[in-house]
């Protein structure tokens, strides 16, 4: 009896594999799109702010003002693209989008400095790009503070100095932050969609009705159909990881097999979601839209792009209910922080629990009776 179950499950899995191989176009796009995505994020996206276009208005024109400008330029955050003579000209350049930052040094800058009064400089910042604005404000404050301290101490040592040491990602490279999350999100999309399609396709073609007339059981059908997709998604995960490591030089500090083991319950949870979708969608288009609907919250709430700590308090518990959140955290932990089982047992148990829940719900919704 057990061997019958295995035999039928194998027959279903083998047939599903034939479907995959018979349709190389779908296979290619399934495997290829995540790779394109990887290259786009790896090369194009850099969230670190550098070389902000800056317009300088030096109304003072003294040695002190030129020193100050040099400090701004040396920080590498600012790149002087224009010089102007009035505040007005500076803001016009910013409105025109030619500069993001304007630094205005008033005529009395040196005079006030030498008479011991507070010398002011005006920093105009284009707030439309919030990350640029924040960076400009921070850096100019730091430069001003440093200048002030230097003058107050008059050559003495700085009383306190912060020496930041960025752990795990010393160059604060965006690729290191994004790619371990990207692997997770891409594979989630792939496994959810493929498993939803696998059942909906049979519904669309009327072949499911025929299967109901045969001895094949609900469980055999599900396991048989899903197993080729688990293998395919695991291979895709390994491919993205390989490219991430070899092309984008993201170092893998932990054990990759630990991560691979953690992906299995994650993929199973996706397949459960896919099953659930397949029972509600009549066509592949509908299934695709529903799958996108489940993936979008995962992208925005999982900490893939936006850190969970800076989300509104009401959304934070929601984030921890998503399996993607746990998987992305596990992926970053293993790849960037070199975490192992002692740090990851919670992730493993949460993901396993979610996988069981999703599969049970998914299987229950696949009705044996039409």
């Amino acid at each position: 009896m057990t061997s019958d179950v295995l035999f039928r499950t194998y027959a279903v899995a083998r047939k599903e594999l034939w479907h995959i191989l018979r349709d190389p176009q779908t296979l290619f796009f399934t495997l290829f799109v995540p790779v394109v995505e990887l290259f786009m994020l790896g090369y194009a996206i850099d969230t670190n702010v550098r070389n902000m276009r800056t317009v300088i208005v030096d109304q003072c024109g003294t040695q002190q003002s030129r020193e100050l400008i040099a400090m701004f330029e040396n920080s590498q955050d600012f790149r002087v693209v224009a010089r102007a003579w009035t505040d007005r000209q500076a803001s016009e350049l910013i409105v025109a989008g030619k500069a993001r930052v304007g630094i205005v040094i008033p005529e009395d800058f040196t005079r006030r400095l030498e008479s011991g009064r507070t010398a002011q400089i005006l920093v105009l910042v284009d707030g439309t790009q919030s990350s640029v604005a924040a960076e400009a404000v921070n850096v100019s404050n730091a430069i001003a503070l440093r200048q002030s301290l230097a003058r107050v101490l008059a050559g003495g040592n700085m009383p306190v100095e912060a020496r930041p040491r960025v752990l795990f990602n010393p160059d604060t490279r965006s690729a290191n932050f994004f790619l371990p999350g990207l692997m997770v999100v891409m594979c989630q999309m792939m496994s959810t969609l493929l498993s939803a399609y696998a059942i909906v396709r049979e519904k669309e073609q009327g072949t499911l009705e025929q299967l109901y007339m045969t001895p094949v059981q609900r469980g055999e059908l599900i396991v048989g159909k899903m197993s080729p997709y688990i293998v395919l998604t695991t291979l895709e995960f390994c491919l993205i990881a390989l490219l991430m490591w070899s092309v984008f030089r993201v170092p893998v500090h932990g054990n990759f097999f630990t991560l691979l083991a953690l992906t299995q319950p994650f993929f199973l949870a996706n397949l459960g979601a896919g099953l659930w979708i397949s029972t509600r969608a009549a066509t592949r288009e509908a299934a695709g839209q529903m799958a996108m609907g489940t993936i979008l919250p995962s992208v925005f709430l999982s900490g893939y792009v936006f850190p969970i700590d800076s989300m509104p308090w009401i959304l934070q518990p929601v984030a921890y209910c998503l399996h993607t959140t746990w998987m992305i955290d596990a992926s970053r932990s293993v790849i960037l922080r070199g975490a192992g089982w002692p740090e990851l047992w919670l992730h493993a148990s949460v993901l396993t629990g979610m996988a069981i829940a999703a599969l049970v719900l998914g299987s229950l919704s696949v009705q044996r009776r039409l």
Partner: protein, 328 residues
Amino acid sequence: MTQTPMPASSDAPPAAGPAPVIEAREVTIRFGSLTAVDHVSLTVERGEVFGLLGPNGSGKTTLIRALCGLLPLASGDARVLGHDVTAQSERIRHAIGYMSQKFSLYADLTVQENIDFYSGIYGLRNHAARLRQQELIAMTGLEPYLGRVTGKLSGGWKQRLALVCALLHRPRLVFLDEPTAGVDPVARRELWDMLFQLAGEGITLVVTTHYMDEAERCGRVAYLHLGQLLALGTPVELKRRPEVTPAGWRRVEIVAPDMASLLAQLRRRPTVREATIYGQSIHALVAESDDLADLAGHDVAIHPTIANLEDVFVTIARQRQQQFAEAG
């Protein structure tokens, strides 16, 4: 549950020989407030070719699904191959074949792959699977098409493949739900030849169809209308039923040059109840009192005839609608 006098142990092998293959008693199936099958009782014996007829939506497919154990019965009970359809649907599915009205194999797989898949889910292993496949491929002549992608076959070859897939596990009962819809006449006849060959081997066939010539080929025919079984019997029995050609009425065949005007003329006569064109002639149900003498000319020929199956079903369905209308 009511106790039956027969010891109905679920582990007992289905009784061979005299026990009917299908035994449905007062089977009723409801979808919400809609009654899709309404107190239908019928039995089908081993080796029969049993025709299930009726307009679209009359409950044919629903009845078949229920007999496969896929739908819960609202009331009544049914046994298929000795198994109860509610409690033992798994056993039924091992022993029946099903060929659906729509082509329902995998269009992107090859013929051989489809056959291999069904061999697999019916649990046929290596040698046994090969032998059975070869046997059926020889019967259907599918050999030259084994490597073809199924979606590119013509309708007739697709149906042959569907038949192969439905027969792999040597079912004792095969349901064929409109197996010849959209198949050309030559392929239809060849398919029917195969079906009779199977019936000769003792396999019971339940076939739904809209084609009257196919209904004529069936050993017995059941006619469903709005979920109710209106007629059941051999084609000859049905044609001789008194309500089809009531006492005081006769059926005639009229051949005339201008059939359209003659048809209109006939339909106006109070002594003519039905008149329909069949190819080159008109079939009419005429009162014995009317000898149609005024129509007879030198180029109008009138012969007595008997009802065909279409007449039977049309008459029965109309009578039922009238009863329905009279009942309010």
